[in-house]
Amino acid sequence: MRVGALALRIMQQFVRDRRTLALLFIAPLFVLTLMKFVFDGQAVSPDIGVAEVPAVLSEQLTSADADIKSYSSVDEAMEDLRKSKLDAVLTLNNGRPSITLEGSDPSTNKAVLLVLQNILRDHANIDTSLVVSYLHGSADMASFDSFGPVLIGFFSFFFVFLLAGVSFLRERTSGTLERLLATPIRRHEIVAGYLAGFGIFALLQATLIAAYSVKVLDMYMVGSIGYMLLINLLLALTALTLGTLLSSFASTEFQIIQFIPIVVVPQAFFSGLFNLEAMSPWLQKLSYIMPLYYGADAMRGIMIRGEGWGDFGVDAFVLLGFSALFALLNVIALRKHRRL
């Protein structure tokens, strides 16, 4: 009842605040569109698995700009490809070189093909027409299709974080939190009410972004849109709980903005927008504490690889865990204002 009342109030406030609504709903679409126009991929050194190919060829590959791993059987190599341990698998099929690309990242695809073409050119004794097949994606997938899913996750996260942080802060600075705490509402009811009230808008935003990305921007998408919404919503919940929690440590709107370079930007770096392989391993592990990493991983899996619950379930649970943790910490942080 009280949770419902609080949720309703938040919605009523929202509807009156047109600009904030625009920020929540229009800004992500705008930025996504810009990114689509602007971005182009960058080169990486690909991991190629080789199986059942002449020794000469694999030696030559090793000297090229690629990390080569030899397998005794094709099946073994393909298994690692499916696990995303490899970017491509090279075999000989009736004397013709045949390459299977993992396919999720167009820039990696390009890099693999470039390396192979350079080497095969020097081989007179092999048929040089390369047979290319894709495990996921296709030849006409653009760079944007690959990091689009990450961006979708990022913008849901970013805008919800900002809004939740600022509105919870306003509750405090306007004195209404103090007034609220003079009523018999429980601390956890406040947090739950905020979750419910904002959750509705987060869901709307997630739906809008997903539909726009797939239908209007025509992003590559082979998975279920329901799963996509679910992950987007979970990410938004994490942003919501984190935003309200951190607003307890800010005393002005400007201080909320100051959290962006500390909390939001690093997550963008670790979320898969950029290739992390060049980074030292211990630094790479930082991504495990970043909610966006899990969200982006799941989004990519769903949109490009058509993954099901069995594949991204862990990501979903981790996000849920983050939300629960932040919400709990928030209930505790409210003790500062009322002990009960």
Binding site: Q12, R16, G175, E178
Partner: protein, 253 residues
């Protein structure tokens, strides 16, 4: 002699040697106070003297470092007792984006008021503070006085047993102020206990008893009449100043 009725009801508020400090600064310093049910108690003191902290301790929003606080005989802090507590804060804690009605409805629901009752209480409280015609307006468009009145209406709507009003009549015109005071009086007649902080001295005179607070201590707690008699002053304002300087200059009496 007008001795207050000795009844079997527990006091609305009982503070027993309560102390509260923040960052090693003592804000409330060993205060004891009993306010009977149905009493209209005025709290007077300069800003920073600890009024707001004292109110929070009375309501159980804050917990005393030492000493005990009771509301209606129940040891505080206790969440359920906030149902009995109505509070009008010094700053208008209202949601500017919402209409007056939406604000009232929100707070009403927090006290568990259900549809029909809620609707009726909103109308009742709004007409009491003359806001009926403005209920559907956005609060951002309200004048300062209207916001005060809305805050008051919100504090009243769940019919609390203990009502604390922090500067309730600031920015309210004299005619309405008079009618609000009449209403407060009729509430106490029905048994509601009201604690008012005020700077308006003619309002202070309307209280049953006054507590003059300074630096976290009561320098006097008595009826307005006996405060005047004690100090030999003709107005509460003078009495307040006299009592204050007595404190500074040491005991004169």
């Amino acid at each position: 002699m007008s001795v207050p009725l000795v009844n079997s009801l527990p006091p609305a508020i009982a503070l027993d040697d309560v102390t509260r400090s923040f960052n090693h600064r003592t804000i409330i310093d060993h205060v004891s106070l009993t306010v009977q049910q149905g009493e209209l108690f005025g709290l007077l003191g300069p800003s920073g003297s600890g009024k707001t902290t004292l109110i929070k301790l009375m309501a159980g929003i804050d917990r005393a470092d030492s000493g005990r606080a009771y509301m209606l005989g129940t040891p505080l802090p206790k969440l359920e007792m906030l149902h009995q507590f109505g509070y009008m804060a010094q700053s208008d804690a209202l949601y500017m984006e919402l209409s007056g009605r939406q604000n009232m409805s929100f707070f009403g629901k927090l006290y568990g008021l259900k549809r029909a009752v809620l609707k009726q209480r909103i109308e009742e409280a709004a007409s009491l503070v003359n806001l009926t015609d403005h209920l559907n307006k956005q609060v951002a468009a309200y004048s300062g006085g209207m916001k005060r009145r809305l805050s008051l209406a919100i504090a009243l709507m769940h019919r609390p047993t203990l009502l604390v009003l922090d500067e309730p009549t600031v920015g309210i015109d004299p005619v309405l102020r008079r009618s609000i005071w009449q209403e407060l009086r009729s509430l106490t007649a029905k048994g509601t206990t009201i604690i008012v902080t005020t700077h308006v001295m003619d309002e202070a005179e309307k209280c049953d008893r006054l507590g003059l607070i300074r630096e976290g201590r009561f320098i006097a707690v008595d009826t307005p009449a006996s405060l005047l008699a004690q100090t030999g002053c003709s107005t509460i304002e003078e009495a307040f100043i006299a009592l204050g300087s007595r404190l500074e200059g040491g005991a004169v009496q």
